[in-house]
Homo-oligomer: 156 residues x 2
């Protein structure tokens, strides 16, 4: 567990955090159509949580203030040959709880994630953002990210 | 080793393929400024190759016709909670050898990669493409990918 400013702590997610993380993922304009948060976590989420926990190249982080989980994000460390064998840190599933938005917490979360990538030896941090999330895009550019790529998805 | 059509075989890359893969990565408008292919492979590439080989969630594939490596790509399987715990297949480092371009080999390579993602249980295949690679973007759209996201990179 590490402490960020404003009494925010960050740590790896535990299985007991699953319901809170799913509420964060679903409390989102796009996420609410994608997630199933009726009742206790669906078995698919438990399977996925176990797969994330077993994989040393995944870091699913939860951010807490007191007993409340106020945000989450996932970092994936991707080894590869491109760019002189650069390790990449990829960030997915960034969410801040509704009543904590617009207060700079997201910036602190991302700065922490970038620092973790640096500590792991990454040369590059990458992420994609839905084209309709224009606020998010400004946010990432303010953090120094370059909007250099088109992001493609194929549901199968 | 699997056989695609046109006598193309695909298999996991071995360390002895490294020099050929690096030539493919460097034989590219953007890649030529990023890679070091002078002399034998730099130690950074060997370290990266080992990291890729050790990680069961990486599949670095080489495509061969006879004894010649004519293409490569890397698939990363990413477990996560979003989209009902969907496993994602991410494709990076797609290259076709210069004298094999424009002949439909890339399409066959990508279709093979999508099928591998399906077999692994992925619900989503994703990739990014530099905004200046307009031919590549048409290629991915023709394969059914949706250009729904902005891709951000931060060098650290």
């Amino acid at each position: 567990m590490a402490e960020l400013s404003d009494n925010i702590c960050v740590r790896k997610a535990q299985k007991t955090d699953l319901a809170a993380i799913l509420r964060l993922l679903a409390d989102d304009r796009l996420g609410r159509h994608r997630e199933d948060t009726s009742g206790s976590p669906h078995a698919d989420y438990l399977t996925a949580f176990d797969a994330v926990s077993r994989d040393p190249n995944q870091y699913l982080a939860v951010f807490e203030q007191g007993d409340e989980i106020i945000g989450c994000l996932q970092i994936t460390f991707i080894p590869g040959l491109s760019r002189r064998g650069a390790l990449r840190g990829q960030i997915e599933g960034v969410r801040v709880a509704a009543n904590f938005r617009g207060k700079g917490y997201g910036t602190k979360m991302l700065r922490w994630a970038i620092e973790i990538c640096r500590e792991q030896g990454c040369k590059l941090v990458q992420l994609t953002s839905d084209k309709t999330r224009q606020d998010a895009q400004r946010f990432y550019k303010d953090l120094g990210f370059v909007q250099s790529h088109e992001g493609f998805k194929l549901e199968i």
